[in-house]
Symmetry: C2
Subunit: 410 residues, 2 copies
């Protein structure tokens, strides 16, 4: 029985029947790079998301969470256009600095920061988002005048979000009721207090849920500021903006969120009048911009079912195989890139080259008839793709990456 | 509410209250290697599994599927003791050759072999397990006198196995009814036909299911040989021997399988009288021998729950986080290695250092009270561990690996 796929994101075209990314024919791109597997990131699509954000959220800072994709050319391109980069390890901190971002615009969150990472962040002048009182004590023991924000574990979460990062007992941040005391401690110790980081969830497609969480976040920031008795220089409101991956999911109504946040900001606590606010986005900025291209190396039939076997797979794009936080595997959008304009005419399953039944890219999808040599495009590969996959598994060659398009690339 | 853990495998000890692996104190091992995270593989435990196999399966070849763990010192150690290595890519083939295995004892299976991989295997004299008629045509077009076996997609599978690799439409192998014609084709083309590879499933803990599958495999091999009209030099019976990971799972009764296979062999088809038989094992040989050691970098409390945050996580041991084929996450066995002899006294969750809620090593387990600096041992890390994990995710440092113990290491 044919299974549905998620929607192919807008903005991809075709020329001579072949998929184009950023106006470039993918057959040409693969030839240029010497083969598959290949990740292509359309910086024009990233720029369009950034522009969309700027229009909808005037006066709100835009931060990029580089864990979504830290490929250097992409990161450098984005760093020029956003107000901050959020990193989750000393390794990512170095990437952010190498991308040209000023240290005072980098913040470092993450529950397991080692002492040498804390030291590296202090030395670089990067803001450390404290995850616990113990971490605060370790930072302060290292001396200097560290830039410190406090990550808050709020009592609420983005309802129905793909990944819950707040609400109840969590390994992230400090429970809200203990935050004021911690802030006083770090201020009294002579550190440079940078504000709050309040993250309530990620990968939500419900504008209503995000609006509610943002209102609650503003209220919480106001209450915490009052309890501290001082205004936070910056409040990171978190992110949570999702993108549709599978059938039945619809794009997030970001416009509504923009309007609602504008209203909520106008009613914010008076102590927050001069506070800067940031939204931290990863997946929403880059997810739809990436395409994973892989080539069909075998076409076979087993018990009447067609299998197309590719030279890529879960070692490069784990999420598409259904093994990255998903409970039930569902098809990401996928296409025969070298026959992008052809009508669907047969049901087939597309699998990776790994010798494991886990390595599936599409189950029972209707696609044009494809054969050995055809290119497969797996969409939504721009976030949590290559870097979040087990690249050395089974000893296959690494994937290549490239950026195309984007006004600043020239 | 306290959640159970899987059973800690036998054979680990303690000295001065600290976990020992192969008789070595893990605090010393970590010091020797300069820190955590660290994978330690006890070759004594691997050797014991090999000895156990030899006792139970006299006359049956033992092959190691290196996808389970291809760490070079471990692989070299195993290569000296087994009859064959099974590889799943040209990269793994090179590892097997570098481990000193003779090419005529290496077989290369995998559904997506690229032409350059097929060429490399022919040049090296490695046996190619053909996955389809199309692959056979591509191999034969490359010329030479390739060593070729045919991977069979059987009409049965190991019932209830963790991963089903046979039965119904599958991307692996050639449907049984088409195998005789394919074998005739490759023999007529002048290739060196090496036999059959029949793989019906993996990670099964049911001796009954494996016994039934092995009987069916022998019957199928006999029927295929008769249809071909020639005896296969080798029949790879597959593997499927599982190990218990989570609470409620019991070790596989391998002894019963040995007795049953002995009986089944005595009744095998007369055409198979001089055929060699192999069992291909990965996880069962190495899984229990490996321990992932990571250090606690933070101890925190959120809403009354204790979280121990480590310097390792899902980027090194994805399976323990529940994101490697599992539908529901359940706790692998885990212990505070630096307090291995201490009684459990508090409920805690152990999480990795990655800034994602997916990065969990143990949920709500009863363990000794542990603090920053203590070492955590995640057991069952010998198979599908580091190489099957997204090592570059979030830019944390790589894990180290080492072998200890084992008679041949001296």
């Amino acid at each position: 029985m044919t299974k549905p796929m998620g929607p192919i994101p807008a903005g991809f075209g075709s020329a001579d029947g072949v998929l184009t990314i950023g106006g470039r024919n993918v057959v040409d791109l693969v030839r240029e790079m010497g083969g598959t597997p290949l990740f292509v990131y359309d910086m024009g699509k990233v720029d369009a998301q950034i522009d969309h954000f700027r229009t909808l959220f005037p006066g709100i800072q835009l931060h990029y969470a580089i864990k979504a994709n830290s490929y250097a050319p992409l990161l450098t391109h984005i760093a020029k256009q956003v107000d901050g980069l959020d990193v989750a390890s000393a390794g990512e901190m170095r990437m952010a600095l190498e991308a040209g971002m000023s240290p005072d615009r980098i913040s470092f969150a993450g529950p397991g920061k080692r002492d040498e990472e804390l030291k590296a962040a202090i030395d670089a002048g990067v803001t450390i988002n404290l995850e616990s009182e113990g971490e605060a004590a370790r930072v302060l023991a290292l001396g200097g005048k560290p830039r410190l924000a406090v990550r808050v574990n709020p009592d609420f979460e983005i309802k129905g979000s793909g990944m819950r990062m707040g609400g109840g007992a969590k390994p992230f941040g400090v429970d809200a009721e203990r935050v004021p005391a911690l802030v006083r401690t770090i201020i009294d110790a002579g550190a440079d207090w940078r504000g709050f980081h309040i993250f309530a969830g990620s990968q939500s497609l419900s504008a209503e849920a995000i609006i509610e969480a943002q209102r609650a976040t503003l209220d919480l920031a106001g209450a915490l500021a009052e309890a501290v008795g001082e205004a936070p220089p910056l409040v990171n409101l978190g992110g949570g903006f999702g993108i549709p991956y599978v059938a039945g999911e619809a794009p997030l109504d970001v416009d509504s969120i923009g309007r609602a946040l504008h209203d909520a900001m106008s009613q914010r606590h008076k102590l927050l009048a001069d506070t800067a606010f940031a939204i931290e986005l990863g997946r929403w900025l880059v997810g739809e911009a990436g395409v994973y291209l892989t080539r069909i190396v075998d076409r076979k039939v087993s018990h009447g079912k067609v299998f197309l076997v590719t030279d890529g797979g879960m070692h490069h794009q784990l999420a598409a195989s259904g093994n990255f936080g998903q409970v039930v595997r569902r098809n990401f959008p996928i296409a025969i890139a070298s026959r992008f304009a052809a009508p669907p005419e047969e049901e087939a399953s597309i699998v990776g080259c790994l010798c494991t039944p886990l390595d599936r890219l599409a189950d029972d999808v209707m696609i044009p008839r494809a054969d050995v040599g055809d290119l497969v495009a797996v969409f939504l590969a721009g976030a949590y793709g290559l870097s979040a996959s087990p690249q050395t598994f089974l000893g296959h060659p690494p994937a290549q990456e490239m950026v195309v398009g984007g006004a600043l690339s020239a």
